[in-house]
């Protein structure tokens, strides 16, 4: 068997509240980027975001949480996605096998921290939210909601976080440390990140245009997605349906700058190279690349150059960024795009890179701009983050 089996998926994003809804949006060009509604910010009329159009109250009632709950928005969307994934995998007894949960986050429960920061000392009823700030809080809440008692951890490597949680989950199964791991990530929109990216001047005031010569930056988004990885023993024993497999993974550090990617995309190149080594696949075997493609001038140039290095500048496979649909969902992005990669394999489609008009002048790379049907055996998905963190995952047909 090549790689680790994926047996379940769950997702909530700006383009849908389930795997099915997300897929329909992707093939029908229904984008989720719009004006912000749930957060009051002075940038509301300038920025566009991939927002889940549900209020916290709606999420609370959907999850049937008690009135005294202290869930951050991040924890709520994370729990929704994780529950879907577990159900999709047909898991009824969560602790039956050695089961772990590896989550990913950028700023934890910052959405609550920033909302109540100065009120904590005046309003005792808010004090319960202080612990939400902790990076591990989301995973703790999900574990509790799932009744999962075993290994629980969280990775935070900025915008590559969820790729690394998927990578760790696959390694934990490969080495026989766990039988089953729920992997993914969650990030809700927050003023903290909106203003952070704003000060870095990489937010677009328009719809993001990945790999376009006139790209102006990214749109932030919020989302959560989780996948269930299971050992081949469980798959065999329970005669499980395998959706696809995690066949390759690689992580490297660009070691260039805290927030910018190197000109030649060293980190990205090394991450892809390692993923090919782990999978035993050749670059020519990849049918679709789901690029990181944030639409910042820096990322797309660096990533494009790294891809060209892998392919020696020729026969680069069909590629697209799905961030025009969802916005850049930070620590969750790689989990969202893992779900999309699996759906591409299951349905044999390449998603369009929306909003693309003009090829970048630095190289000869044109993304796929319309929905394309073709056989998909292997998908490569890139995710890069601040701190030079570069990760690549390869998904394969089972």
């Amino acid at each position: 068997m090549k790689g680790v089996a994926i047996t379940g998926m769950g997702i909530i994003s700006a383009i849908g509240n389930s795997v099915e809804e997300n897929y329909i949006s992707l093939i029908e060009n229904k984008i989720g980027v719009s004006r912000i509604q749930n957060i009051s910010t002075v940038h509301a009329d300038v920025i566009k975001v991939g927002e889940i159009k549900k209020t916290n109250d709606e999420l609370i009632s959907e999850l049937e949480l008690n009135e005294d709950n202290n869930f951050s928005r991040t924890a709520m969307i994370g729990t929704l996605a994780a529950k879907q994934a577990v159900e999709n995998a047909g898991i009824t007894s969560i602790n039956e096998f050695r089961t772990g949960l590896i989550s990913a986050t950028s700023v934890g429960g910052m959405d609550m921290t920033e909302k109540h920061y100065y009120d904590y000392f005046e309003k005792p009823e808010l004090v319960k939210y202080i612990t939400c700030h902790d990076g591990g809080d989301v995973a703790e809440k999900i574990a509790e909601e799932l009744g999962l008692k075993g290994m629980v951890s969280t990775i935070s490597t900025a915008c590559s976080s969820a790729a690394n949680s998927i990578m760790l989950g696959a390694r934990l199964i490969k080495t026989g440390k766990l039988d089953r791991v729920i992997v993914g990530g969650a990030d809700a929109l927050a003023k903290f990140t909106i203003n952070g990216f704003k000060t870095l001047m990489i937010l677009s005031d328009d719809y993001n245009k990945p790999f376009d010569n006139n790209r102006k930056g990214l749109n932030l988004g919020e989302a959560a997605a989780f996948l269930v990885l299971e050992s081949d023993e469980i798959v065999k024993k329970q005669n499980k349906k395998v959706l696809a497999r995690v066949s390759g993974y690689g992580n490297a550090n660009d070691a260039y700058h805290q927030t910018a990617s190197s000109e030649n995309g060293d980190g990205a190149y090394l991450a892809m190279k390692k993923a090919f080594e782990v999978s035993g696949l050749q670059p020519s075997q990849i049918d679709y690349i789901n690029v990181h493609g944030t639409a910042t001038p820096n990322n797309d140039l660096s990533e494009g150059r790294a891809i060209n290095r892998i392919y020696n500048g020729e026969n680069v496979p069909d590629f697209s960024s799905t961030k025009p649909f969802t916005g850049h969902t930070l620590a969750a992005a790689a989990a969202i795009e893992a779900v999309y990669s699996v759906l591409a394999i299951q349905n044999n489609v390449v998603y369009p890179n929306l909003n693309f008009e003009t090829q970048m002048e630095e190289f000869d790379l044109t993304p796929q701009t319309s929905l394309k049907n073709k056989n998909i055996e292997h998908v490569l998905s890139n995710s890069f983050g601040f701190g030079g963190n570069c990760s690549t995952l390869i998904f394969s047909k089972s």
Binding site: T41, V42, L101, S106, V107, M110, T113, E114, Y117, Y118, Y120, F121, V127, I130, T131, H133, D134, G135, G136, D137, A139, E140, A143, K149, G150, M151, V152, S153, T154, I155, S156, T157, A158, L168, R171, L172, T175, K177, F192, N195, G196, K198, T199, L200, N251, A252, N253, D254, A255, Y256, Q258, T259, D266, G267, L270, G385, F386, G387, G388, N389
Partner: protein, 354 residues
Amino acid sequence: MTKKTYINGVGCISTQKTFDTVFLEEARVNHDENVLAIVTPAYKEYISPAASRRMAKGVKNGIVASALAMKDANTENVDAIITGTGLGCIEDSEKFLKSILDNKEEFLTPTSFIQSTHNTVGAQIALLQQCKGYNFTYVNGAVSFESALIDAKMQIEEDEANSILVGGVDENGDYTTALFKLNGRIKQDNQAPYDVLTSKTSGAVYGEGASFFVLENERKENTYAELLDVYIINTLEENEVESALKSFLKSNNVEVSDIDAVVLGFDGNADFENYYKNLAENTFAQTPVLYYKHLSGEYDTASAFAFWMASKVLKTQGIPEIVKVNKVSKPAYKTILLYNQLNGKNHSFTLLSK
């Protein structure tokens, strides 16, 4: 055969003088304060003043601790850098959040945002060393450091890396410590003198620090110990700890009687001390029991301080009086077990041998 993991270098910046010393001979217990600050190393020996000005103390401490560990291991390059941190760069997070709120989202500069991400420490070390290898940061409360250890051990076992820098780092932020006093995580201001073992109150005395280690696949002359195993589990009831611990030992072919010292995470939080007390008074009544949070303070990666302490015990073959819970001693220290938890969650068992 799977490769074994050895601790070949250590570096520790803590609320005690744990650099330029042998082993806690200058340590003292602070009974007066509920938030302890680190003993500051000479940053300028490791970081240029220009770079130092921009860096938060957690980043600086991480850089110094990692440099100490590399020097101690006589290693100039590592293949991977794996960091654990509970709250990450909380000072810069506070700074950026405050300026957002105080200035109504205007007039902001990116510096503190850039440095606020949890992986800043690991990234800055990679940048300084030009290490392009594997680089992960774990952020899961009290098991952040142990998650990093598990990852590192897996890398060495699978032959993915020969030499890895692993560490735990956390820093105190003023506003966050005020919030932790408000929600009871930190003991109240007026309860001094603070004492960990006799405490009747909830909450803990807080601390901060950075401990880094060079883990390698080869035993060397300067090896401190072999890392036999690390296990984390999210939820255990008080009465489940002993059996979980025994099955962990059993999976490593070790009996309770083989343990020459056990290091427990007593932090003076009366609500959860039974998790440790039961072990100290029953399972390990005939074993030297050690504690450390009266020296290091409590924080998410305080268990990295314990890892440093256990490494030192194995190397020096002696236990400083100041960390002893009971009067039991052994002629030699070969196998040490560490156990930690926080508020009944995030339990970890770590097993080291000479």
